[in-house]
Each structure stands twice: as structure tokens, then as C-alpha cells.
């Protein structure tokens, strides 16, 4: 009996190691493939197909991209960085101010304001009214603000921050209030410094969503000079994609030059570059954020 049990337990552990190991590889393999292809030579890829290790490794693809579309990519990089920096900063300010106010029990109408926010999650007017209002009344068509404003406030992130703020003891505030500080000062001088981790976590979540956003560009932007990086990549891929369906009239596909395999993958690597470099450092803050969001107050 005892031996059987020990054997069975060992088997469970072995299966655990295998399952986790395999799934982890499945998650990382495509990324590795992308990087590996981007460093391969085009001829080798055309001959042998994609492979796990770079074939006749070279930097030619990156040189080629830099010479041919360097300006375009730099411009898109600029747009993405601008949107991410400005968007994240304003989002953090807007979100944390409201989260702070709603974390205070003394605020009489806080439940009403929370309800107004929650309702937008449960029910929305849909894409078309939102689009028409944004384009006709706010003039967001082909404006860089179209990439920032609609995503500048997330109700989820606000509630996440409120949970953090609620854990600060209100007696700290009361002391400052007696000293004559108003609540904006208290927010700046006491609440924010005490919630640095929360700011970092939520800030990173906003930054990631701005960096990865291309949907707003698809909807609002026609002007090539305003294409963010992700949308630039999307355009390249979706042309390739349409042509490989074989349904595009041959005349039309003749006029579009297919970017080579290595070029596509290199642009993909350029797009996710900063994420790959920052990932090891920022990962734990995301885990914290998700866990804090999972635990209900």
C-alpha cells in the first residue's frame, strides 16, 4: 500500500513537471521562432522554411529595414512612445484622483459615482454611436488624441487603485486635515507616496495597453504619419494575409510587393523589443496587480 502510494504520488509530480514544462515551451516557442527567423538569411528561409535555430545567421534583414523603411518605423515608434507616455501619465493622474476620492468613507455620494462608473461596464451604446460622436463632435478622425483619450480611464483600474487606497488608515489623513491641509494636498503628499507599488502596477497596465493598441488606429487613423507601431505591423501583415488567401486578382497582387519572411518577423521583433527587455523586471508587478484585483474587498 505505502509503496503504491509513494509511486502514485511520484507519478503525479512527474506529470506536473512535464505538463508545466511543455506548456511553458509552447508559450515561448513562437516568440523564439520569430526572433530566430528575423536573424536568418532570406534564401535559407525560402529553401527550408521556418526553423528553430537561425539559418545562416546575419543582421542583413535589420540593415535592409533600416535603410528602406527606417524613417517610417522611427516615426511610428515616435507615435507609439508619445501615446504611451502621455496616455499613461494622464491615465494615472485621472484614475488615482478618482480612486482616492472614492476610497474615503466620508464622501457622501461615493456610491453614486461608483455606480455611474460601473454602469459603463455593464451597458454600452455600441461601436457606431461612439464612433459618430467621437468623429463628428470631438473631431477625433486622424487626430493623435484618438489614440489617447478613449482609453485614458479604465473603470477596472480605478477600482483596483481604490482597493489599495482603502487600505491606508484614514487617521493619517485626519491628522493632516487638522494641520490645515486640504484633500488634494493629502492625496499628493500622503496617499500617493504610500501607494507607489499600486501606481507602478496600474501604470504598467495602462502602458501595456497603450503600447499594444492598434484598434483605435484602425478605427480613427488614415494618415500614415500617425500610424502607431502596432498598426504599421498590422498593415504589412494583413496585406500578406489577404494575398495568401489566393483570392486577390493577380493584377492587384502584382502591384503590392510582398515583404520577405525575414522582414515581417524582424518588424515583429522591433515591435515587441521593449516588452522583451522590460518583461523580466515588470512581470512581478503585473502578477501583484492581477492578484490584488482577484481579491475582493
Amino acid at each position: 500500500m505505502g509503496i503504491n502510494r509513494a509511486l502514485g504520488d511520484k507519478l503525479v509530480v512527474i506529470i506536473a513537471y512535464c505538463f508545466i514544462g511543455c506548456f511553458a515551451l509552447v508559450c515561448l516557442y513562437p516568440l523564439w521562432l520569430t526572433v530566430s527567423v528575423s536573424f536568418s538569411s532570406e534564401q535559407a528561409i525560402a529553401r527550408n522554411g521556418y526553423s528553430f535555430l537561425p539559418q545562416s545567421p546575419s543582421l542583413d534583414t535589420y540593415k535592409y529595414i533600416f535603410v528602406n523603411s527606417g524613417m517610417r518605423i522611427l516615426k511610428s515608434y515616435g507615435i507609439t512612445i508619445f501615446v504611451t507616455v502621455v496616455g499613461t501619465t494622464s491615465a494615472l493622474l485621472i484614475t488615482s484622483m478618482m480612486a482616492f476620492a472614492l476610497s474615503l468613507k466620508k464622501l457622501k455620494y461615493r456610491n453614486f459615482i461608483a455606480f455611474i462608473s460601473n454602469f459603463t461596464i455593464i451597458f454600452s451604446s455600441g461601436l457606431i454611436p461612439w464612433y459618430i460622436v467621437s468623429v463628428n463632435y470631438y473631431g477625433l478622425k486622424n487626430s493623435i488624441w484618438a489614440l489617447i483619450l478613449p482609453a485614458v480611464f479604465s473603470v477596472w483600474n480605478m477600482f483596483l487603485m481604490r482597493t489599495y487606497f482603502s487600505s491606508i488608515s484614514p487617521s493619517l489623513y485626519e491628522a493632516a486635515e487638522i494641520d490645515g491641509a486640504n484633500y488634494f494636498r493629502i492625496y499628493l503628499k500622503i496617499a500617493l507616496p504610500l501607494s507607489k507599488t499600486a501606481l507602478l502596477t496600474v501604470g504598467l497596465m495602462y502602458a501595456l495597453s497603450y503600447w499594444n493598441d492598434w484598434w483605435h488606429a484602425l478605427i480613427f487613423i488614415n494618415d500614415k504619419d500617425l500610424f502607431p507601431l502596432q498598426y504599421y505591423l498590422y498593415n504589412i501583415l494583413s496585406n500578406v494575409n489577404a494575398i495568401s488567401s489566393g483570392r486577390i486578382p493577380s493584377g492587384a497582387s502584382g502591384s503590392i510587393t510582398l515583404p520577405a519572411e525575414t522582414v515581417k518577423m524582424a518588424i515583429t521583433v522591433i515591435t515587441i523589443g521593449p516588452i522583451i527587455f522590460l518583461y523580466p523586471f515588470v512581470q512581478k508587478y503585473f502578477v501583484q496587480g492581477i492578484m490584488a484585483g482577484a481579491v475582493k474587498e
Partner: protein, 319 residues
């Protein structure tokens, strides 16, 4: 500050409990909510007025409220026999249903198995690897999927060729793409969701496992009789949240993967994508109507899901 509160305390008691009193007292805090509220009003509440378009035959000259009222005609057209309505609703529900099912099984298995791993480095590295897909955009996922399924150079055909199978022209065969999209969704979200389950598991009472061991329960029995039942509330809440959103397709995911490939798109068009496409071809009124149908179904389901969650979790809802 103090002079204001003194002034206010002189006021009759009835006034002091009212709206104006509260505004005066906490004006700074309310002002701090204004920017966020402004965004909500601009991008969520003002667009509500546009819902009226769903009941009209909208044209730009007459505007939203001047256009001809047509009642429910737009909705009738959506569900007419040969329209895309049923097809896109089916696609949405099909893709979401299987994503939800696999989106429970895979992350829960990950959470349970990772709990059995004692080697800290192995645990840490594999966890980081599994979480990575969450960080990349659907466009990048689309590029990766192209690398796997492209006809001439893709990995899938390479592997098939290894076994002597003829290469498949994936990008002109619609039948594979629902499956590919479901797996892509599971691939991207599993690492993320498994963290939610691990968070729940970290709160489990260890002494239960100790006494189970004393009673002679093996690991499999511990998982089956302890871990899974204790994970149930988390599973139910997360599932209900997803069921509440089952009428919403992931626009970014499907457009990022399939792009504007004319052969594949019909097979995987979900309601959101149909709204976007018909905005250009079938007009604003019709597409607003579809959007409204989607929002209403969402509202009904999320209310229902919330009620169910409250019943199961002793009065605690989803939000």
C-alpha cells in the same frame, strides 16, 4: 477651511444635510472625480443618444433625430432568413463557448500542477514563460500564427511534410480557423488566468492537506477531494463573468489574426466585426441596431450572472 465649516455649522440642520452642504464640504474631492467623470460622459454617456439611430433610417443631412423613424425594421433585417445575423451570432457563441471551457480546464490544470512543483527555479522560469503571451498584442500573435501556418514556409506544413502529408493551404481553408482562434485565445490567456487560480490557492488552509495525508490520501485524491472543490467558487465566478460577456467577440483577436483575408473572415466574423464591416456597407442605422442587440443581450446575461453569483457566494456579486 475651518472658517467655512464654522459658517456651515450656523446653518439650519435641514440644509446642512443636503446636497449643497455636501458639495461645499467636500468640493475638492468631487473636483478630483471630474476628469474621470468627464471621460465617462464623453465616451460612454453621450454616445447613448446615438442609440436612437437603431430605430431610424439614418442619413447625415437629417441627423440623428431628424431621420425617418422605422421602428424595429433594422432588427428584423438582421434576423431575416438569409442575412448574416444568425451566422455571426453563432460564430460569436461558438468561439466564446469553447474558449470559456478550455479557458477553465487549462489554467486550472496549470495552477494545480504548478503547486506540485518543488523546484523553485523551474517553477519561476516556467511561470514567466507562460505569462508572456499576455504581454504581446494580437497583431504580433497574428504574425506568429502566420509563421506557423503559412503555406510555403510555415512550421505546420514543415511538420506535416515530415510525416509525408501533403501541405495544406491553411490561409484559403476557412474550416480550420475557428479552432485556430480558440487555441490562440487559450494560449494567450492561460498564463494570466492561472495566476487568478493560484491567488485563490494561496489562501487555502494547509492543515486540511496535512490531515488528509495522515488519513492516507494520495496526491490525486487530495487534488480531487480538496483542491478542486475549494477552487470551485473562483471557477464559478470567473466563468459567470465570461458567460456575461459571451455575446461580445474579441475584435482585436480576430482582426489581428485573420486581418482582411476575404476567404477566412466569414467563417470567424463575430458580432463586433460584423458591426464594423456593416458600418461601411449597410449604413449606420443597421449597424447601430446590431450593436444595441449585442449590448442588450450582454446586459441581460451579466445581470443574470450577477444574480447567480450572489446566490452561490452568499450575497457577494461579481462587482
Amino acid at each position: 477651511m475651518s472658517s467655512v465649516s464654522k459658517e456651515l455649522s450656523d446653518l439650519p440642520p435641514k440644509y446642512s444635510k443636503g446636497f449643497l452642504y455636501e458639495m461645499k464640504k467636500n468640493i475638492i474631492l468631487y473636483l478630483m472625480c471630474v476628469p474621470a467623470l468627464l471621460i465617462l460622459i464623453l465616451f460612454s454617456y453621450i454616445p447613448f443618444s446615438g442609440i436612437w439611430m437603431a430605430f431610424t433610417d439614418f442619413n447625415v443631412i437629417d441627423g440623428i433625430f431628424g431621420s425617418k423613424f422605422v421602428g424595429l425594421d433594422n432588427f428584423k433585417y438582421f434576423f431575416a432568413k438569409n442575412s448574416m445575423g444568425w451566422q455571426v451570432t453563432y460564430n460569436t457563441l461558438f468561439i466564446n463557448f469553447f474558449s470559456i471551457i478550455l479557458g477553465i480546464i487549462v489554467p486550472v490544470s496549470i495552477a494545480i500542477f504548478i503547486n506540485e512543483i518543488r523546484n523553485k527555479t523551474y517553477k519561476k522560469i516556467s511561470q514567466s514563460m507562460m505569462f508572456f503571451p499576455y504581454f504581446i498584442s494580437w497583431v504580433v500573435v497574428g504574425a506568429i500564427i502566420y509563421g506557423i501556418f503559412s503555406t510555403d514556409v510555415g512550421v505546420a506544413n514543415n511538420i506535416l511534410g515530415y510525416f509525408g502529408v501533403e501541405p495544406i493551404r491553411w490561409y484559403s481553408e476557412p474550416k480550420y480557423w475557428k479552432t485556430i482562434i480558440i487555441f490562440a485565445s487559450v494560449w494567450k490567456w492561460s498564463g494570466y488566468s492561472s495566476i487568478l487560480y493560484m491567488a485563490a490557492m494561496s489562501n487555502f488552509d494547509n492543515s486540511l492537506y496535512e490531515s488528509a495525508k495522515v488519513d492516507g490520501a494520495n496526491k490525486l485524491q487530495q487534488i480531487y477531494y480538496l483542491t478542486i472543490p475549494m477552487l470551485k467558487p473562483t471557477i464559478i465566478v470567473l466563468t459567470l463573468l465570461n458567460v456575461g460577456r459571451i455575446f461580445y467577440g474579441d475584435f482585436g483577436m480576430i482582426y489581428g489574426i485573420v486581418g482582411n483575408n476575404p476567404v477566412l473572415i466569414d467563417e470567424v466574423t463575430v458580432i463586433d466585426i460584423y458591426v464594423y464591416q456593416s458600418m461601411r456597407t449597410l449604413g449606420f442605422s443597421y449597424s447601430t441596431a446590431i450593436g444595441l442587440f449585442q449590448s442588450l443581450m450582454g446586459l441581460i446575461l451579466i445581470t443574470f450572472a450577477n444574480k447567480t453569483a450572489k446566490k452561490i457566494n452568499d450575497g457577494e456579486g461579481l462587482f
